[in-house]
C-alpha cells in the first residue's frame, strides 16, 4: 500500500525544509515535507539510505573570505577557489580561460533531493568559458571552512568546439560535520576533448554530495574520474548525456573506502542520438567495516541506434567486513545497439601475491603494487604528469592509512 500519511520528519529534514523555505524554494521544501529524505524504499537510494545516514543538516555556511589552503596542489595548475559557496578572485587566467560569476542553480531538474536542493540553495555560480587548447590544468578548489556548515555551490563550464582542457575539482575543508552539495554543469562543444577529475578529500565528519551533469555535442570526447577518498559519507552523481553523433565518454570513478565510510557513485548515462559510445568503468577498494556503492544506468533512446556502451564495476575487498554493492541497469529503447554490464568482486589474488613475494618483495609492498595495478587503468589515462603524480599520491596515501 502506498503511504497515505506524511512521513515522520527528523532533525535533518526539519532544518533542510527551513533552509529551503528561507531561500524561497517552496516546491523543494514541500517535496521534502511530504516524502522526507529518501530511504532504502526509494530505488535510487536503496543502498544509500539518506534518512539513516544523514542525521543532521548544519546551518548554511557563512561566507568566508579566505581558504586555509588547498588539500591538493598540482604544480602548474591554474587554481580557482570556491570557499563556503563564494567564488574567490583568482590569479590572472591563462589564455582561453574566461572566468565569470552568475547566480542560481545549474542542474537540469529531476526528481532527486540532492539535485533539487542544489538548484534551490546555490546562490553564486562560477562560470568558466574555455576555448582553444588549454595546456594548464584548471583547478577548482572547493573548501568548506569553519564550524559545521551546509554549502551548496555550483559551477557552469562551457568548452568551445575543437577545444581541449583538463578540469580538476577538489573538495576539502575543516574537519567538521559539513554537508557539501556541489553541482557542476559541463557542456562540451563539437569535437571538444575534456578530462574532468573530481576528488573528495573532505574530513571524515563531512558529508559530501556532488552532481556532475555533462552534455556532449558531435564528436566530443569526455573522460571523467571521480575519486572518493575523504568524507565519511559521499555520493557523486554522474549524468552524462550524449547529444551529438560520434560523442564518446569514458566515465570512470574510484571509491577508496576505509572503516566507517560509505561512498556511492551513481551514474546515469543517456545516449540520445545514434552513433555514440560510452565506457563506464568504476572500481571500489574497501577496508575495515565500510561500504562502497556503484550504480550505473545506461539509457539508450529509441533513435540512438549503433550505441556502444559497456558498464563495468570491479571491487577489491581488503577486509572481510566491507561491503561492495553493484547495481548495473540497462534501459534500452533502440534495437541495434551493443550494450552490456559486468561486475566483479574479490580479494587480492593469492597467486599474484606469491609471485611478487617469491621475487623478494615484502608483503606490504607487494600488496601496494597489486592495488596500484588494480587501479592503473583509471589513473594511467590522465596524461598531465603533475596531475597523474598527484592522483598516485592520493592513492598511495590512502594505502598507507591516511
Amino acid at each position: 500500500m502506498r503511504q497515505t500519511f506524511p512521513v515522520r520528519l527528523g532533525a535533518a529534514e526539519e532544518s533542510l525544509i527551513a533552509q529551503l523555505k528561507a531561500a524561497g524554494a517552496d516546491q523543494a521544501a514541500e517535496r521534502v515535507t511530504v516524502a522526507g529524505l529518501p530511504t532504502r524504499r526509494v530505488e535510487a537510494y536503496h543502498y544509500t539510505d539518506l534518512k539513516t545516514l544523514l542525521r543532521a543538516i548544519p546551518p548554511l555556511a557563512q561566507a568566508a573570505n579566505e581558504a586555509s589552503g588547498t588539500a591538493l596542489r598540482v604544480p602548474g595548475a591554474y587554481a580557482l577557489s570556491i570557499v563556503n559557496g563564494a567564488v574567490l578572485n583568482a590569479a590572472t587566467a591563462p589564455e582561453g580561460v574566461k572566468v565569470g560569476k552568475t547566480h542560481g542553480g545549474v542542474l537540469t531538474n529531476r526528481d532527486d533531493v540532492i539535485v533539487s536542493v542544489s538548484n534551490a540553495l546555490a546562490t553564486e555560480t562560477l562560470s568558466l568559458d574555455l576555448k582553444g587548447a588549454i595546456e594548464q590544468v584548471v583547478q577548482i578548489d572547493h573548501r568548506i571552512e569553519g564550524e559545521a556548515g551546509h554549502v551548496a555551490d555550483a559551477t557552469k563550464i562551457f568548452v568551445a568546439d575543437d577545444s581541449s582542457v583538463v578540469v580538476l575539482e577538489t573538495f576539502s575543508g575543516s574537519d567538521a560535520a559539513h554537508v557539501g552539495n556541489h553541482a557542476t554543469y559541463l557542456a562540451l562543444g563539437k569535437n571538444a576533448v575534456v578530462t574532468h577529475v573530481t576528488i573528495d578529500l573532505s574530513g571524515r565528519a563531512t558529508s559530501h554530495f556532488a552532481t556532475n551533469e555533462y552534455h556532449l555535442a558531435d564528436g566530443a570526447q569526455l573522460r571523467t574520474l571521480v575519486i572518493h577518498a575523504g568524507a565519511g559519507l559521499a555520493r557523486t552523481h554522474l549524468f552524462p548525456k550524449m547529444e551529438g553523433e560520434g560523442a564518446h565518454a569514458d566515465v570512470t570513478g574510484l571509491n577508496l573506502v576505509s572503516d566507517g565510510q560509505h561512498s556511492d557513485i551513481t551514474m546515469e548515462t543517456q545516449h540520445a542520438v545514434p552513433y555514440t559510445s560510452s565506457q563506464p568503468l568504476f572500481k571500489s577498494i574497501t577496508r575495515g567495516r565500510s561500504k562502497s556503492v556503484v550504480q550505473g544506468k545506461l539509457i539508450v533512446a529509441r533513435d540512438a541506434q549503433k550505441t556502444d556502451a559497456k558498464f563495468m564495476h570491479q571491487g577489491l575487498m581488503l577486509s572481510d567486513e566491507a561491503e561492495i554493492l553493484s547495481k548495473p541497469e540497462l534501459e534500452i529503447y533502440a534495437d541495434d545497439v551493443v550494450c552490456g554490464h559486468g561486475s566483479t568482486c574479490g580479494k587480492l589474488d593469492e597467486d599474484s601475491l606469491f609471485y611478487l613475494l617469491s621475487r623478494g618483495i615484502p608483503k606490504a609492498e607487494a600488496e601496494t603494487i597489486l592495488v596500484r595495478g588494480f587501479i592503473a587503468e583509471l589513473i594511467d589515462p590522465i596524461e598531465d604528469e603533475a596531475l597523474n603524480e598527484a592522483l598516485q599520491g592520493i592513492v598511495d596515501g590512502w594505502l598507507l592509512g591516511n
Binding site: L357, S358, R359, G360, I361, I369, L370, R372
Partner: protein, 253 residues
Amino acid sequence: MTTPVLEIRNLHARIEEREILKGVNLVIPQGEVHAIMGRNGSGKSTLSYVLAGKEDYEVTEGEILLNGENILEMEPHERAAAGLFLAFQYPIEIPGVATMTFLKAAINAQRKARGEGELTTPEFMRAVKEAGAQLNVDSDMLKRPLNVGFSGGEKKRAEIMQMALLKPSLAVLDETDSGLDIDALQVVSKGVNALRDGKRSMLVITHYQRLLNHIVPDVVHVFSDGRIVESGDKDLALQLEAKGYADYDGQAA
C-alpha cells in the same frame, strides 16, 4: 668440504589432508645442476612451491637448508633475498604493473634486505639492458604489464631474465620447457647456461628429457610418489626417455 647450496632432509609436506612429499632427501653442492624427472602428479612442482614457501603447503617433517641455513621459518620474500629463485611453470600475469616497475621493486627489495643500497636508475637500466639483450627481451616488452599478453616463450624468457638480474645462489626451474617451441627452448637454455658460473646451483624440474639436451645436468634424480627413488648421471634421463617411468611404479610404496 664446502656447505652445499641446497640440502633437503627427509622433507614431508601436505596440502590440506593429502600428503604429497613423503621424505625427500637431496643435496646440491655449489655449482652443480641437478635435474628432477618424474611423471605428472609425482610431486615435482609441489617440491618447487615448498622450496619457495607457498602458503598452501604445510611442511610436516624435515628440513630445507639453503647455504646451510634452515629456510622453513622464512617468508617467501626472505627466501628470495637469501638466494632462492623459482622460475614458474606458469608465470603469473599481473595487469597494471609495468614489467620494468616490478623488476626495480624486486631488485631493490632484495638489495635492501641484504643491507645493500638501492640501484640508481642508470645502474638499473644498464643491468636490465644487459640481461635483456641475451634473452631477446626488448624495451617494448619491459614497458608492458608483467606477463600480460606475453606469449609462452616471452614469459619464460622474462623469467630467466629475472633470474639473471636477481643473481640467486639457487635457481629452481619448474618445467621451464613447457609451452616452448624449439627456437624458444634454445634461447631460454642459452640464457640459463650463461648463468652457470661454477658457483650458482640449479634444480631443473621437467618431465621431458628434451630440455636436458640443452641444459646438461650433473645429476639426474627420478621422482616418484613424493620422493626421489633413483639418482644417476645424465644418461639416466636418456634411459627414462626410452623406458618411461613404469619401472618406478610401486617402488616407492
